[in-house]
C-alpha cells in the first residue's frame, strides 16, 4: 500500500508540473509573439507618423489654403503625385508581414484657439493592436524652430510652450494633451 500511495503522490506532483509547463507554454506562445509584434509596430508607427508630419508640414508651408478646404472630423490620407502629395478623402491601408495597417488624419480644429492661421489635426496610425493618435498644429510656418523666441519670430502668433523644451513646438501647444506622443526630431 505504501507504494500505491507514493504512486498517487507522484502522479499529483506530475500533474502540477504539467499544469505549470502548460501555463508557461501558453505564456510563451501568446505573450512573446505579441511582444515581437508590438516592437515591430513601434517602428511602423514611428515611420508613418513622421512621414505624415513632414508631408503635412510641407503642405502647410507651400499650400496652406488647401487646409481650409478640409472638413472637420473627416478622414483624409496623403497620396503621392509627381509634384508632391495631395490630400484625399479616406484611409490609406496596407499590409505588412501579413498584418493590416492604416494611416490617416483628421482636421480636429480648423481655427485652433480661434486663430484661422492655425489648424489642429490628428494623425492616426492603426496597427493590428491599437490606434495611435498624434496631435499636430499646422501653421504657415516659415522655418522649423526649437525655442519659443524663435517660434514667435517665425509665426505671427505666439504659442505657450516651455521655453527650454527641444521638441517640435507646434505639437506642444497649451491645451493639447500629448500624452507623451510627441515628435522628437
Amino acid at each position: 500500500m505504501k507504494n500505491k500511495s507514493q504512486f498517487l503522490v507522484e502522479i499529483l506532483i506530475s500533474m502540477v508540473i504539467i499544469i505549470i509547463l502548460a501555463v508557461t507554454l501558453f505564456y510563451v506562445f501568446t505573450v512573446l509573439p505579441r511582444a515581437i509584434r508590438y516592437s515591430e509596430d513601434s517602428l511602423i508607427v514611428f515611420n508613418l507618423s513622421n512621414n505624415y508630419v513632414n508631408i503635412l508640414n510641407g503642405i502647410s508651408r507651400k499650400n496652406f489654403i488647401v487646409l481650409d478646404l478640409l472638413s472637420k472630423d473627416i478622414n483624409y490620407y496623403l497620396k503621392a503625385t509627381t509634384s508632391g502629395y495631395e490630400i484625399k478623402e479616406g484611409i490609406e491601408s496596407f499590409s505588412y508581414m501579413g498584418e493590416n495597417y492604416a494611416v490617416w488624419f483628421k482636421m480636429v480644429d480648423p481655427t485652433f484657439e480661434n486663430d484661422p492661421s492655425r489648424k489642429l489635426v490628428e494623425i492616426y496610425v492603426q496597427t493590428p493592436s491599437y490606434i495611435y493618435a498624434f496631435p499636430l498644429i499646422l501653421t504657415n510656418l516659415k522655418e522649423f524652430v526649437f525655442l519659443q523666441d524663435e517660434w514667435s519670430e517665425a509665426t505671427t502668433s505666439i504659442i505657450n510652450v516651455t521655453p527650454t523644451t527641444t521638441i517640435k513646438q507646434f505639437a506642444t501647444s497649451s491645451g493639447i494633451n500629448t500624452n507623451g506622443e510627441i515628435y522628437l526630431p
Partner: protein, 152 residues
C-alpha cells in the same frame, strides 16, 4: 547483516502506462518550452537588430531634414549640406556608408545588409526607400522615409 527479503511491489500494467505517459508528457512539454524559447529569442534578437538599425537611419534622415541647409539626391544617394559640414549617404557592397568632413564610415552594423536604398523626389519631398536584411537572409525590414527640407 540482515537477510535480504524480496517484497512483491510491482505496479499493474495500467499504473505503469499512466506513469510513463505522464513522464512522456512532462518531457514533451519541457522540450517544446525550451525549443519555443530558443526560437522566439532568435527571432526577437534578429529582428531587434534590424529595427534598431532602421531606427538609427530614419532618425538621422528625419533630423537632418530639419537642420540641413540643402539636400541633393541621386537615385542611390542622399546628400545633406549643413553650415560647416555635409553628410552623404550611399550604399556600397550591401552596406550603408556615411561620408562627411571626417571621411567615410560605415553607418550600419556588420550583422545586417542593405538590400535597397532608393531615393526619389516628389515635388518638395524626398522619398527614401530602405530595405535591410540579416546575414542569413531570412528576415528583412522595409521602410520609406518621406523627408521635407525645412530650410529651403
Amino acid at each position: 547483516m540482515g537477510k535480504f527479503t524480496y517484497h512483491k511491489k510491482a505496479f499493474t500494467l495500467i499504473e505503469l502506462l499512466t506513469y510513463l505517459g505522464i513522464v512522456a508528457i512532462v518531457l514533451l512539454l519541457t522540450f517544446i518550452l525550451f525549443y519555443a524559447i530558443i526560437v522566439y529569442t532568435t527571432i526577437y534578437s534578429e529582428r531587434l537588430t534590424l529595427r534598431t538599425e532602421m531606427y538609427k537611419i530614419l532618425q538621422k534622415l528625419y533630423y537632418n531634414s530639419i537642420i540641413a541647409k540643402n539636400v541633393t539626391t541621386t537615385p542611390v544617394s542622399l546628400k545633406f549640406v549643413f553650415d560647416n559640414n555635409f553628410e552623404n549617404y550611399f550604399v556600397s557592397s550591401s552596406a550603408l556608408f556615411l561620408e562627411n568632413n571626417s571621411g567615410v564610415s560605415k553607418l550600419i552594423s556588420d550583422k545586417i545588409l542593405v538590400d535597397n536604398f532608393a531615393v526619389s523626389t516628389s515635388g518638395p519631398f524626398i522619398n527614401v526607400n530602405i530595405r535591410l536584411r540579416n546575414l542569413n537572409g531570412n528576415y528583412n525590414i522595409n521602410a520609406t522615409s518621406v523627408i521635407y527640407l525645412w530650410k529651403e
